[in-house]
Amino acid sequence: MKNVIIIALMLIGTTTFAQNKNAKTTMEVDGVCGMCKARIEKACLSTKGVKYAQWNIETHELKLIFDERKTDTKVIKSNVLAAGHDVEEEKATDEDYAKVHACCKYRDENLKAEHENDN
């Protein structure tokens, strides 16, 4: 157990462990509607190596399965950010955010409330 922890501590800060063909991860991505869902999932799937992406409108959780030999979470994250969606603590640039459709302006509290009404 000790060894494990030591190894673990040594590996902190790096993201590559084993080279898994079907690595799973989840991340929280901000968005509000079905259009956001399509945009987020498309941004992920357009990343070479991502095999499966599913974003949940209500929970904002993005589930991913990807080939670690071809990509990593950093690349995927940056692509989602580039699509205009905030990922966890990282904010999409204002330019990228500006590109999302008017109905998808998830940073707008009023809009959020509106979308809650249509569900």
Binding site: I5, I7, A8, E28, E41, Y52, H60, I65, E89
Partner: protein, 745 residues
């Protein structure tokens, strides 16, 4: 496991002294053991505050009163959102996701659903929709559906036949949980062998179906999902009685055998023993009948390992008697004492389904379906005898996966069918064996927004139909919000079972002629047709309420067809199509949720169905050109104890229809060229007392419309002009019914 520790260590805990909430996330299991789920995400909805559970599944998290929705998720498990009002310790079991929907497509909740997203033009009818018209079996459950036409039952079989895109049911692939079920010998009465209460939902696909289910579908596909032991009520009882003294009883009993096995027993009985002759023609308006139908289902579910399996056993015994009021089967069977008919059917079925979804890789799954059925019908109609035995075996293996990513899905597999037919038609024995082996490949692309398409191809080797290729294509394009343009085309090929599909011919004095052309099936060639379709669906808001409108146009072109020629009144002729035969159908449908609880559905249809007979190009007999349909449904607000009132009414109008030519008959047996128009009205009221008990009361054909002379030549049923097939409208007038449903969840 190691990786999980790393992940845990990578997320430093928030060490600020604020109010905190702690808890434990566990993996749901049947032994109720505490198995901690490490690495699960726990976070407050719409916030950036979150954490990951440690190796024991424990977590602690910052708590603020404004946070109230806690989301717990993990890949491969169902995401749960909990409502938290105070920072108490939380213990939560997360359930593994059931990713088997690739194999069993089911749809519930919405009464009817049209998909904006699918490539195929699919209309889903849910169990709720099926309750709108309480009676009684699958053939009657399309009454509230504008895409499928249900004709009026003839007096002999009492069975309603269905049509889609202007074509009769043999051109529709009818499957039960994706296994072809109503085909061959069961074609004529098969829909009445599936009790309505057994049906969980129905998916209607217009246009050529998927290659996965075989090469036979031409006009479309109707798939019926049956109730499942794991989700159906523990006990369900449905009792139905009608003013014509038809009685039905349905009982379902479902139990959980152990943590993985469920079983259900479904019993159906219906009986009608009262002779009616409202039109005083000496003939029964509807047959006397008795049916016993039993199904036993076994369901195996192991979501952790990703296995799902079904085993179904079915038994059916159906007896019908019809004809003249004076007919006594004991003394008059096959004599000229009086005209009568008996149809006795006995059917056994065993089917199994096995599915595996890789729990690690949700897109990978394997399904294997097998089905065996033995169908035996013994019948006579006046002096005509018709017996058919049909043994059938079906096996299909489907593998689902993706190419590069989940936008590109593939389905591929192999199938095998075996059919043995043994028919006895008056004095002639027809026997044949058909078998086929096929392989299919279907690719679907979904760009997640505007476009998706499904392209499939299959190659089959059939001992009588030869080796042939079946292509099918469906595509959807949504250029703007709430729209869907769809196109489809595909090819279908089938062997026509001329006698069983046209069984009404035996209730006539017509002479049966097969104009043999040296073909392999009754001397005739297989039927081949191409189907092309276009549809446009647009959703919109009208006065702030949801509405949608659909236009669709489909055309079926027969390359070869077995022409059923009724145009000589004393004969029925079967021959291969020489020139052209086509069915064009146009449908305009509007759905509108006008106010809370009130739904309106209305449709207009135009059919142009023509065939080149030996006597020239003619409209297919008894197929109306114009149809109008309207259905109104209103539900009161659901009370706390689930009490509710439901009202439903359907109005159907059929334009005039062409009678098959009768000009060669003596004047008194001649019919006009066309039938009058027909309008019928059905209504039903359901009072739900609680989630356990409800009663319903309804009426069919409330305006008491009747076709005055449904049987030609009643005065001399053994004479040359006797014919009971000219049915364009209801024979029996209005009929009222009442029933109850009792269920224990």
């Amino acid at each position: 496991m190691k990786q999980l520790i790393y992940i845990v260590l990578m997320f430093p805990a928030f060490l600020v002294s604020q109010e905190r909430i702690s808890g434990k996330v566990l993996e749901a299991n049947n032994e109720n053991q505490d198995i901690g789920l490490a690495g699960a995400n726990v976070y407050w909805l719409n916030s950036e505050v979150g954490t990951v559970t440690n190796i024991d599944g424990d977590f602690t998290l910052l708590y603020k009163p404004e946070f109230n929705k806690l989301v717990i998720s993990y890949v491969g498990f169902k995401t749960d959102t909990l409502t938290i009002n105070s920072p108490k310790f939380i213990k939560h079991w997360l359930k593994p996701t059931d990713n088997l929907d690739e194999i069993t497509i089911t749809s519930r909740k919405q009464a009817t659903a049209k998909s904006y997203m699918q490539a195929q033009n699919v209309f889903t009818v849910s169990s709720e929709e099926l309750l709108k018209a309480a009676c009684c079996n699958l053939s009657e459950s399309f009454e509230t559906n504008p895409s499928i036409d249900v004709n009026f039952a003839d007096a002999i079989s009492g069975t309603r036949q269905i049509k889609m895109l202007g074509l009769t049911s043999p051109y529709i692939l009818i499957t039960t949980e994706n296994i072809p079920s109503i085909r061959g010998a069961s074609q004529a009465y098969g829909l009445s062998f599936i009790p309505g209460t057994w049906v969980e939902s129905i998916q209607v696909t217009k246009g050529s179906g998927s290659v996965v289910n075989g090469f036979e579908s031409i006009a479309g596909q109707i798939n019926t999902e049956l109730v499942k032991p794991s989700t159906d009520d523990k006990l369900f009882v449905n009792l139905y009685g009608a003013t014509n003294e038809r009685l039905e009883l349905n009982t379902h009993i479902n139990t959980k055998v152990n943590d993985k096995w469920y079983t259900g027993l479904y019993l159906h009985g219906n009986t009608h023993n009262k002779k009616h002759d409202v039109n005083n023609d000496g003939f029964l308006d509807m047959p006397l009948f008795n049916q016993i139908n039993v199904m036993n289902r076994w369901q195996y579910v192991d979501t952790q390992k990703g296995f799902v399996s079904f085993i179904n056993l079915k038994f059916l015994n159906d007896e019908k008697q019809s004809g003249q009021l004076t007919f006594n089967p004991e003394t008059d069977r096959l004599t000229t004492n009086s005209w009568g008919s008996e149809i006795d059917t006995r059917r056994y079925e065993v089917s199994t389904k096995f599915g595996y979804v890789n729990p690690e890789i949700p897109w990978q799954s394997l399904g294997v379906q097998t089905a065996f059925s033995s169908h035996n019908q013994e019948s006579y109609f006046g002096l005509n005898t018709y017996n058919i035995k049909h043994n059938s075996l079906y096996a299909n293996a489907i593998y689902n996966s993706i190419i590069s990513d989940s936008r590109h899905k593939i389905k591929t597999g192999v199938s095998y069918t075996y059919d043995h037919y043994d028919e006895f038609v008056n004095t002639i024995d027809y026997e044949r064996t058909e078998n086929s082996v096929g392989a299919f490949f279907e690719y679907s692309f979904d760009n997640l927004e505007l476009l998706n398409l499904t392209a499939g191809i299959r190659v089959d080797h059939h001992n009588l139909l030869g080796t042939f290729v079946t292509p099918r294509l469906h595509a959807r394009y949504s250029p703007w919000s709430k729209s869907a343009f769809r196109i489809s085309f595909g090819r279908g090929k089938r062997s026509a079972n001329i006698f069983t599909e046209n069984q009404q011919l035996f209730s006539t004095s017509r002479q049966i002629n097969i104009l043999n052309s040296g073909g392999v099936i009754y001397g005739l060639d297989p039927e081949i047709a191409w189907n092309y379709g276009f549809s446009y669906l647009q959703g919109f808001n009208l006065f702030g309420r949801k509405a949608d409108i659909t236009f669709d146009y489909y055309k079926t072109d027969f390359v070869n067809q077995v022409v059923v020629d009724w145009e000589t009144p004393t004969e029925i002729n079967f021959y291969n199509l020489e020139e052209k035969s086509f069915a064009k159908s146009f449908q305009l449908e509007l759905n509108y949720n006008a106010f809370e609880g009130f739904d309106l559905r209305t449709a207009y249809k135009f059919y142009n169905v023509k065939t080149d007979y030996n006597s020239g190009r003619l409209e297919r007999p008894l197929t109306p050109k114009h149809r109008f349909f309207i259905n109104l449904g209103y539900k009161t607000k659901l009370k706390e104890n689930n009490a509710q009132w439901k009202f439903d009414t359907t109005f159907n109008w059929l334009g005039d229809q062409r009678y098959a030519n009768t000009t060669a008959n003596p004047v008194q047996y001649q019919l006009p060229e066309r039938t009058p128009t027909v309008a019928t009205l059905n209504a039903q009221i359901t009072k739900v007392f609680s989630s356990k008990f409800e009663v319903y009361l309804g009426g069919e054909n409330i305006t008491n419309l009747r076709q005055p002379n449904p049987v030609l030549g009643v005065d001399d049923p053994f004479g040359a002009n006797f014919d009971s097939t000219f049915v364009y409208g209801p024979i029996f007038g209005s009929m009222y019914y009442a029933g109850l449903r009792y269920k224990i969840k």
